[in-house]
């Protein structure tokens, strides 16, 4: 690893000043689980590392706001997974966060870092996409909010401008009964990167939302307007046809993990499995909400 300057600022102002000063030479350190691996493997060689862990304004918890849960930039995946409110409202996110790395990694890795790393295969991304996560950014020109579905530009590329960083991620609370699930395919059961991952959200008013990872340059969101997917007893052939259309939105490549053909086939399998669980959960959620006859 090359030598680098290390800063541990106390305030966001200082962070932004450093980011503006060093530009592309600077990298932010929160959990470091992606940053250090990339540095050690010589994939990147930043001259400046800015440690965010002592920045007073950045939070490491989950707050309940009016109509949303706010996940601080320093909130680690292990804490996210254990939060009762996240478990209640965003089970697919819990499922996704639970398979990122190992326990040791999840104890250090932040949700914001997982997003900013902008890996096409990031497991939390599809789950955050179906829940319409909003990314709160702060930079030299102040604050702005970007929907996650507009956040990714390509592999390792985001809308973050020079001097900007993520302050928190907001998850709007569901306004109606919903069911969601996350599923993925890996080459082994232990710690692994996804060959394909998928999240699905089912609601009566808005239909079904799918999101996929590792099958396009960025994690992608695929809404389905055809409400027949919500019907559990839907004819298998019709469902297959709809899922074929869903899969057509993906553009997987062949690499050492899998061929394009296999990924394409697995998108459909993962979508079907996520949908099945999402529909079960939707039915259960509705049963809980409706008055006992």
């Amino acid at each position: 690893m090359n030598a680098f300057l290390y800063f541990r600022p106390q305030s966001l102002d200082e962070v932004i000043t450093l980011l503006v000063r060093y530009g592309r030479e600077a990298r932010l350190l929160a959990g470091g689980t992606d940053l250090l691996v990339q540095m050690r493997h010589d994939l990147i060689a930043p001259q400046v590392v800015i440690d965010l862990k002592r920045v007073a304004e950045l939070r490491a918890d989950v707050q309940l706001l009016d109509g949303a849960l706010r996940i601080g930039a320093l909130t680690v995946l292990s804490d996210l997974i254990e939060d009762a409110r996240v478990q209640q409202y965003f089970p697919a996110l819990v499922e996704a966060a639970s398979v990122v790395g190992s326990v040791q990694i999840r104890n250090r890795a932040t949700l914001s870092g997982n997003i900013c790393n902008a890996s096409p295969a990031a497991d939390t991304a599809p789950a955050l996409l179906i829940y319409d996560a909003q990314v709160n950014l702060i930079g030299p020109d102040g604050r702005r909010t970007v929907a996650l579905r507009r956040f990714f530009l390509g592999p390792r590329k985001t809308v973050l401008q020079q001097g900007e960083l993520v302050e928190a991620i907001d998850l709007p609370l569901p306004r109606e009964a919903s069911g969601a699930a996350f599923t993925r395919l890996t080459r082994r059961r232990g710690v692994d990167l996804a060959t394909v991952n998928a999240a699905c959200l089912a609601r009566r008013s808005d239909g079904v939302l799918f999101a996929f990872g590792a099958v396009a340059p960025t994690p992608i969101l695929v809404p389905v307007s055809d409400n027949r997917l919500l019907v559990t007893s839907l004819d298998a052939a019709i469902r297959r046809a709809i899922l074929d259309e869903v899969a057509a939105h993906t553009s997987p490549i062949s690499d050492v993990r899998a061929s394009r053909e296999y990924r394409l086939a697995m998108v459909k399998v993962m979508a079907k499995r996520a949908l099945e669980v999402a529909l079960q959960r939707l039915t259960a959620a509705e049963a809980q909400l409706s008055p006992v006859a």
Binding site: M1, N2, A3, H41, L185, R187, R188, R189, G190, V191, D192, L193, V256, R257, A258, S259, Y262, A265, M266, V269
Partner: protein, 773 residues
């Protein structure tokens, strides 16, 4: 050479599972591995390699690197004697550093020694290496193509070597009967492939070297210190007495640490700089330094209508790398037993060691047999299907009984091998109803153990009656220190905590051929018992003299010398014999497999290492994922000296086998570069990938040549895992895959092909994607 008779009655520790010697240090991180040792004033070394598999080196300009503060030396081929010193366990073909040509991705072109590791790394980046990329051969097929680029220049090969103008390093032919005349009712032919895989020990390879007054000391995480000593002696032209090898307990070896790699380079660097030097390879560099031979095995098998083998016609091509390492021995020793644990009246075996521009393949747990078992056992299944026979039954019909011949002219069958299979079948509920997409598989594997080889052990009964055993076995996690302590404790009646085993220093511990071939408990175990018994003889003689008694009135019992009514402690006897200044009692024990110059392998197998595997799997038809519900290994161990360690080793071997069965393979690109270099994309099984249930059955019939009738069992668990799993997949979903690993994608693809109605004989056998028979 069995030591069972004399000590059967007095075992207090043998057969028990005391706490592992050194286990606590391993799991707490207290153990100091080779790379952890800090020699005062040591320089740190980094290697420079090229981004391709085959190239001609035109020039190495080190001027910029040498100007970097902290850089002490850059070593290239130009700094070494001419001709380039070469070494290797079978052929002296591996240069100390790339000589003129780079022959595999990762072969070092230059070595930088600097005051710290980061500086050395930075200096490597400052080297200006001019090179011309050359066409290479990266697969068996490419290497055997007429006109293929040659890996070894004919000039370094013997003038009368018939293969010197090809990439075939050796061809071995074995056989008996007459395959061409044999009359079979049914003949099947298939090609089976086994991938490139790497060992992935948790401890990466690490080396250190220091100049001595008139020689050199070398530290290495090596399994066979005396093989390394020979390499240093060869490469540096020093007497062995001036070459000291220090080999701290390795953190896993699996064969990958058996043979020297970059130790001679470090030794030259130490002599050049006059300072100690340290090189700790990264995981990626370790991948580039060690791997198993891939294979392509064509099997033509003839059977009678009732499932008896008539002939086996076997062509086994193994993919070696750029240098022979121990690869040619893997091929000769492996293909020698290619017909497996079966009685086949007519056998023809051609085994080829094929050189390619890849990492030199080396020993790897199983030593050529997992490749063969995959082919042979998959073929037995194919025959069973063709003949409508039960897969267990066809095997039982062909396995010879104890005492019968398995390979003409070699050791007869030394165990009840049918029983192994029967027990595996029973343990997985063979023949009972199965759930949807579930299947069961059975397989058996046989390996020839060490043949001609020697082990020496020194036992020193110290002045206070405690015991030192000096042995050059390496304890790389298998628990040799524990088993040796148990053997010595029972022989001499000395408590375990008063025994130390000194290993890993050629200045202290005597010669041992190797820690390999599952031989240590048998060979070194017998040598230690022999040394301890000689100590007992000496103690009786000493007591006779000291107490003026007849020697036959003196016996040893529970750590005391019993002289009539008196029970004398060892320290007391030493004092009474030598006087107040005291002395000690020393003995050397040896064990040897006899060298037979006319035997194809130099000697008969000391024992056959045989294990059966049974498993039940479930296949996810949509994704191709495999869940192993149960895996059972039944090992013919003779006697489990330490049952817990034996089980652990067997489980470890089976899980390692699941790696090459289900997920492991090094993927090379067109320039011979490893595409999945590192832990991210080279996947090995984790604890979450192991079977839902595992069972180890140790068959203890006391019929081995080792202490208490034991046989070695360090490799048995890995021998036949693949074909058992392949067999179970076939039963579960009806597809047969001939190429490992059985990744979800490959299983899925095979299912797609089956559904598409592509039937059995649609593809030529040479097609690498021939998944169906």
């Amino acid at each position: 050479m069995s030591a069972s008779a004399e000590n059967q009655g007095m075992a207090q520790w043998v057969g028990m599972s005391p706490e592992r010697v050194g286990g606590r240090e391993r799991v707490t991180g207290a153990q100091r591995y080779t790379g952890d040792i800090r020699l005062p004033g040591a320089l740190h070394v980094k290697l420079a390699h090229l981004n391709c598999g085959h190239a001609r080196i035109l020039n190495v300009d080190a001027s910029q690197a040498l100007r970097l503060k902290g850089v002490v030396a850059v070593l290239t081929a130009d700094d070494l004697p001419k001709p380039m010193p070469r070494f290797g366990p079978v052929y002296n073909d591996r240069p100390v550093i790339a000589d003129d040509e780079v022959k595999y991705f990762g072969e070092p072109v230059a070595a930088v020694a600097a005051e710290d590791e980061d500086t050395a790394l930075e200096a490597v980046k400052l080297l200006r290496i001019e090179y011309e990329e050359l066409p290479g051969v990266y697969t068996i097929d490419e290497a055997l193509r007429p006109g293929a680029p040659l890996v070894q220049h004919p000039s370094i090969r013997a003038a009368d070597d018939p293969f010197r103008q090809s990439n075939i390093l050796n061809e071995w032919c074995f056989g008996w009967g007459d395959v061409d005349q044999a009359q079979a009712d049914m003949v099947i032919e298939n090609v089976y492939r086994f991938p490139l895989v790497t060992h992935f020990p948790i401890e990466n390879l690490a080396y250190q070297a220091a100049p001595e007054k008139d020689g050199v000391s070398v530290w290495s995480s090596i399994q066979h210190p005396y093989v390394l000593q020979r390499a240093i002696v060869t490469a540096l032209n020093l007497p062995a007495s001036k070459v000291r090898i220090i080999a701290p307990d390795p953190g896993g070896g699996f064969g990958g640490k058996g043979y020297p790699k970059y130790e001679p380079l470090l030794a030259f660097l130490a002599l050049k700089t006059g300072r100690p030097v340290r090189l700790a390879l990264t995981l990626e560099e370790t991948f580039q330094a060690i791997r198993r031979a891939a294979s392509q095995i064509r099997l033509r098998s003839g059977f009678t209508a009732d499932g008896r083998l008539v002939f086996q016609d076997i062509e086994a091509n193994y993919q070696l790398g750029a240098y022979a390492d121990i690869g040619s021995r893997v091929v000769s020793k492996g293909s020698y037993v290619a017909a497996g644990p079966y009685h086949a009246p007519n056998v023809r075996i051609v085994g080829r060691a094929v050189l390619t521009h890849t990492t030199p393949s080396t020993a790897f747990r199983g030593f050529g047999i997992p490749q063969l078992s995959w082919a042979l056992e998959s073929q037995m299944d194919a025959a069973a299907r063709q003949l409508g026979l039960d897969r267990l039954e066809i095997r039982l019909r062909n396995i010879p009984a104890k005492g019968e011949t398995v390979i003409p002219g070699d050791k007869p069958v030394d165990g009840d091998w049918r029983m192994l299979l029967q027990r595996a079948a029973n343990a997985i509920g063979w023949g009972q109803p199965l759930g949807k997409n579930h299947g069961r598989g059975l397989a058996i594997g046989m390996k020839n153990s060490a043949s001609a080889s020697a082990s020496f052990a020194i036992a020193r009964l110290l002045q206070d009656g405690s015991l030192l055993i000096l042995s050059s076995t390496s304890d790389m996690g298998q628990g040799a220190r524990t088993v040796f302590s148990q053997l010595a404790a029972d022989e001499l009646g000395i408590p375990l905590d008063r025994i130390s085993i000194v290993m890993g220093d050629t200045a202290l511990a005597p010669f041992d051929a190797s820690t390999s071939a599952s031989r240590s408990s048998v060979f070194m175990g017998n040598a230690i018992i022999s040394a301890c018994r000689q100590i007992k003889t000496q103690l009786r003689q000493m007591a006779a003299e000291a107490y003026d008694m007849a020697e036959d009135c003196i016996r040893l019992q529970e750590g005391k010398v019993i002289c009539g009514e008196r029970a004398v402690a060892y320290d007391r006897l030493i004092r009474d014999y030598y006087g107040a200044v005291r002395g000690e009692v020393i003995a050397v024990g040896t064990a040897r497999g006899k060298y037979l110059p006319n035997h194809p392998l130099g000697g008969q197998a000391a024992f056959w290492e045989v294990a059966a595997v049974g498993c039940e799997v479930e296949v996810d038809e949509e994704t191709g994922e495999i869940t192993i519900h149960k895996l059972v290994t039944v090992t013919d161990i003779g006697k489990a000296l330490n049952p817990r360690q034996a089980e652990a080793q067997d489980e470890g071997a089976a899980i390692m086998g699941l790696g090459h069965t289900l997920m492991e393979h090094l993927i090379l690109d067109e320039a011979g570069r490893i595409q999945n270099l590192g832990a991210l994309d080279y996947r090995i099984p984790t604890i979450k990938d192991i079977p839902l249930e595992m069972e180890t059955i140790l068959q203890e019939n006391g019929d081995g040549p080792g202490p208490y009738g034991s046989k070695g069992a360090g490799e048995s668990g890995i021998l036949a895992v693949s074909p058992a799993v392949g067999s179970a997949i076939r039963e579960a979903i009806g597809v047969t895959i001939h190429d490992l690993p059985l990744t979800p994608e490959k299983v899925w693809l095979a299912l797609q092909e089956k559904r598409a109605g592509e039937n059995s004989f649609a593809r030529p056998l040479t097609d690498p994607k021939s998944y169906v028979e």
